[in-house]
């Protein structure tokens, strides 16, 4: 029997040479007259080991990585096709501590299956959640999601079930389901990984949302920076349609649900849900005032479910295994698991799905192995560009929405960016303002103008001009942005700025002129 290999087609794995490794292995096998099958799976999320090559053996899959084309000959010589020992070998993939110590619910299949194979998907539990949902009344599906305690994984943490109930109860000739796959936050890549590695999971979650609320049409809004995710999602939708899992009369149930992909165009603000709706309607991505809430008047003015990729992808598990199973993970009012993303200056960067309650220190040190540079860690930015910078003394914080909020921080979309002691926190604060100025939709003055003023004030502080006065101006400015902004872009930009100032005041002492490169 031909050997079966798995080499990720995930764009991050390919960004460090997975395609070249796959080609080198195929060529070497041909030269040796060995026949083998190479599956281009998603990534397991252990990016520090990518390109990760896995061999299927009777005992399970054996991992080698990170593999370069130059290693390929040696791997064949070492008998890697039978799982032979080699310096790049890690034994059974599932036994690698980084993976073994996770609680993978949403990402259980990612990196395991052939992403576009419906057979693989179904053989690994796919569509069991939808099949369950099809036997239930819509209100019962919503009740299950509510009971699971699932909260929006896109950042704001709003209870998903309550949102769905509002849409279910709304009376309308047409309702929509929109997936927010804009994933603009630095430090996050879970949405991308899931769409590339287990696209049917998202389709299943969105279809369940349609069944639960009476929506018959859905859109996935994917940022243009993700060409591979766009391609895979489009292919998966076409294949699901062709097999009767999307379209009219899903699997003979008499229920219908259609799905289409829409591409963003490089605007961070389009991740804000109402700006996303404007963009989906073909307009400038400016934020809409709320109310009306999108659940009542959303896309084209119709009741609309809007959720993040990870929120939808968590739902099939909840339906299949029950609300209680999911809710048994987690702590306090943060139930279930969150796919954390370890990024920045970190030795073992990747995706770590854990129940809420895990501490920053466990993520940074036990999973992440500390900094990549080997220098001492100094700060973490948690929750994307609008999230707080936290010092090492707060690495004891446990991950849940309330604990982070109490500490003027946020969990957000689960992205964690580690910085070593070479970081200049004033420069990070300045960038937060700069980013807000670049990406503001322009609707409110505090956000549009205040952010540019913020950059100037921070430059003056750096130059030691009127230090006390300018620190006060900065605090006032942040307060105005917090209070006077329509959405969290302007409203939360003060979070990284003020947290940097609060936790790292020494970096705001007078200094020489800023780096001219800025």
């Amino acid at each position: 029997m031909a050997a079966r290999l798995y080499i990720p087609g995930d764009s991050a794995a390919c960004s460090v040479g997975a395609d070249e490794v796959a080609a080198a292995i195929a060529a070497e096998a041909a030269a040796r007259g060995i026949s083998l099958t190479i599956v281009r799976n998603g990534s397991r999320g252990m990016f520090f080991l990518e390109p990760l090559v896995e061999i299927a053996t009777p005992e399970g899959r054996i991992a080698y990585g990170p593999v370069t084309p130059a290693d390929v000959k040696g791997l064949f010589d070492a008998g890697f096709l039978e799982g032979g020992p080699h310096p790049l070998g890690h034994g059974l993939t599932e036994e690698i501590p980084y993976l073994k110590n996770q609680e993978r619910l949403t990402f259980a299949r990612c990196g395991v299956i052939d992403p576009l194979s419906l057979d693989d998907f179904i053989a690994h539990g796919g569509y069991a959640g939808l099949q369950k949902a099809l036997t239930l009344a819509p209100a019962d599906v919503v009740a299950e999601v509510t009971a699971s305690g699932l909260r929006g994984r896109g950042g704001a943490g709003f209870p998903t079930g309550i949102k769905w109930k509002t849409v279910l109860d709304a009376v309308s000739d047409q309702k929509y389901v929109c997936c927010n796959a804009d994933e603009g936050d630095s430090g996050t890549f879970a949405d991308r990984m899931l769409m590339e590695g287990d696209p049917y999971a998202l389709i299943e979650g969105m279809t369940i949302a349609g069944m639960a609320t009476g929506a018959t049409k859905g859109f996935i809004y994917i940022r243009s920076e993700y060409p591979d995710a766009i391609r895979v999602m489009k292919q998966a939708i076409a294949m699901a349609e062709a097999s009767g899992w999307l379209g009219g009369d899903i699997q003979g149930s008499g229920r219908s649900f259609d799905l289409a992909v829409r591409t963003g165009a490089g605007a961070y603000i389009c991740g804000e849900e109402t700006a996303m709706l404007e963009s989906l309607e073909g307009r400038r991505g400016t934020v809409r005032p709320k109310p009306p809430i999108p659940a009542l008047e959303g896309l084209f003015g119709k009741p609309t479910v809007i959720n993040n990729v990870l929120s939808f992808a968590a739902v099939p598990t909840i339906l299949e295994r029950g609300a209680k199973f999911y809710a048994d993970f987690g702590t306090g009012r943060s139930r279930g698991t969150l796919p954390f993303q370890l990024a920045g200056n970190i030795k073992r960067g990747g995706l770590v799905e854990k129940a809420f309650g895990v501490t920053l220190a466990e993520l940074v040190y036990d999973f992440g192995g500390g900094t990549a540079s080997g220098r001492p860690a100094r700060a973490v930015q948690m929750g994307g560009p609008l999230g707080a910078y936290l010092p090492v003394s707060l690495f004891t914080l446990q991950q849940d929405y309330e604990t982070f909020a109490e500490n003027s921080a946020m969990v957000g979309h689960g992205g964690l960016v580690l910085f070593d002691d070479s970081v200049d926190m004033l420069e990070q604060a300045r960038f937060a303002m700069e980013f807000c100025a670049i990406e503001s939709c322009g609707k409110c003055t505090p956000c549009r103008i205040g952010s540019t003023r913020g950059v100037e004030v921070i430059d003056r502080i750096a130059a030691g001009i009127d230090r006390e006065r300018n620190l006060n101006v900065l605090a006032d400015l942040c307060e105005t942005m917090t209070d006077g902004s329509l959405c969290a872009m302007g409203g939360l930009t003060p979070m990284p700025v003020m947290s940097a100032l609060r936790h790292f005041p020494e970096d705001f002492e007078p200094r020489q002129t800023l780096d001219a490169a800025e």
Binding site: V16, T188, S279, G350, P385
Partner: protein, 175 residues
């Protein structure tokens, strides 16, 4: 002929600067989207894929087909960072400037790239080969710093790798 003349009379001056072939291409794209205004962003993406940029004359043409105002068409065009009014170089190099990549030295990578290519962000080398652009996160934050070249993602890019990658795309195009 009849149809062409009627269209020509209603044309905006910028549209007249486009040749028949270009106009036909634009019309085919809007028609493929059934002239639906909500498809405007998809339409711009496809026009940019076809031309390498969005020609001035495309805006009034698309506005008329979708039955929206020219101001609206222009407003959408200028809002999104992706859409360009001028042709880019043969290759587009996007450097990630966001936090995770900052933690891994993207500020110095950016400075290096600018100096090496002799251009700033948003500019094109004089030989028309490379356009350098900023991007804010490419979803490759576990392998920072990240760069995207012609839609392909690269991770752990240091100055040496940057040079090799740029040489590589130039060579690939030349062969």
């Amino acid at each position: 002929m009849e149809v062409a003349r009627r269209n020509a009379s209603g044309m905006h001056p910028a549209e007249r600067r486009l040749d028949e072939d270009a106009l036909a291409k634009i019309d085919a794209i809007t028609e493929r989207h059934h002239n639906q205004p909500d498809a405007l962003i998809e339409i711009y993406h496809e026009v940019q894929d076809a031309f390498g940029y969005i020609p001035e004359g495309a805006l009034p043409r698309i506005a008329r087909a979708l039955n929206i105002s020219r101001a609206e068409a222009r407003g959408v065009f200028t809002f999104y960072h992706d859409f360009r009014a001028e042709p880019a170089g043969r290759h587009v190099v996007k450097i990630c400037r966001a936090e995770s990549c900052q933690a891994m030295g993207c500020r110095s990578l950016e400075a290096y790239a600018k100096q090496r290519l002799g251009i700033g962000l948003g500019e094109t080398t004089s030989d028309g080969e490379i356009t350098l652009e900023a991007v804010y996160c490419l979803g490759n934050c576990a392998l920072s710093p990240a760069v995207m070249i012609d839609g392909r993602l690269y991770g752990k890019v240091d100055p040496d790798r940057f040079d090799a990658l740029v040489e590589n795309v130039k060579r690939r195009a030349a062969s």
